[in-house]
Symmetry: C2
């Protein structure tokens, strides 16, 4: 290093995160994101030992589901899905699910996906969105959804068997679109 030269720390690489509809080719990346959350068993009711094929059916296989990915370059860092919460006479209300990769947590990807899903669901003609099973100990998620306009309609008592906390409540949350 030449004396007198000003040394600057490297500029942090600016992550560019985009959200787009997922294609079949995104499944391996989605599975990498989903698997740690399924195995932890603290925030979703998927069986903790659900295999990859079962997870693919559950996340992408239901009638009317649309799946999104948050990507940074070629890497999937989060995923979301939305679909009618009920068929038939209940199909104007959407349901949605969100998972962010553990290695990408804490920097706003849940909010980014949430805002995108709300906008897309509204554009698709849904008039409200309902979550059926937000684990009450998942405080970060509850706060996020409240900040995005959801209210807690009910807590179903002792409806979730948390691996560390035992039986805890599941929140039904809702907002109009």
């Amino acid at each position: 290093m030449t004396r007198g030269q000003v040394v600057r720390p490297p500029v942090p690489s600016r992550r560019v995160t985009s959200v787009r509809e997922a294609g079949a080719e995104d499944w391996p990346g989605i599975w990498q994101v989903l698997e740690p959350t399924i195995r932890a068993g603290e925030t979703y009711t998927y069986p903790r030992d659900l295999d990859e094929a079962g997870a693919r059916t559950a996340w992408t296989g239901e009638p009317g589901v649309r799946v999104l990915v948050a990507v940074e370059g070629a890497a999937v860092v989060g995923t979301a899905r939305y679909l009618p919460n009920h068929p038939g006479a209940g199909s104007h209300v959407a349901n949605a699910s969100f998972v962010v990769a553990p290695w990408a947590a804490g920097r706003g990807l849940g909010r980014l996906l949430g805002e995108e899903v709300l906008a897309r669901a509204r554009a698709d003609g849904f008039v409200a969105m309902q979550f059926n099973a937000v684990v009450e100990t998942n405080v970060r998620a509850v706060r996020l959804w409240e900040s995005l306009g959801f209210t807690v309609l009910a807590t179903v008592p002792r409806a979730f068997d948390h691996p560390r906390h035992g039986l805890v409540g599941l929140l039904v949350m809702h907002r109009e679109l």
Copy 2:
């Protein structure tokens, strides 16, 4: 008729209704019971044009479901099903559905099926039962479930598109077992 003979009205034939687990051979009878309710579209979120195969999958095809029939002689007059409301960490809470044949309504079959499902779900180890979507205009059902110990945890506003009443609420109801 001989003069002096005492004529009595015929004794009403006493209907003997029993509830048992359904077998594959009961499907035609179950479908006869379900179809009018599905076509009416006033109490369930099944698509009103759901065909028989779709109804069979929906009523009998979900993982862990147990299907009951109320029968009088060879005739199916009602049906019920119960299953885990969620998989995995939510699978200790049951969900259930009930349909009574229109031609057998008003004589206690809903209550009979309800009591039987509660007893069987309890025996199977479920610790609570949750209904996700009781149509609020289905007052007879709401009263029945309240009389069987359920409480309304929430009304999801405007979540059901009723063919006569427009957008009405869906009740989340719950009781411990």
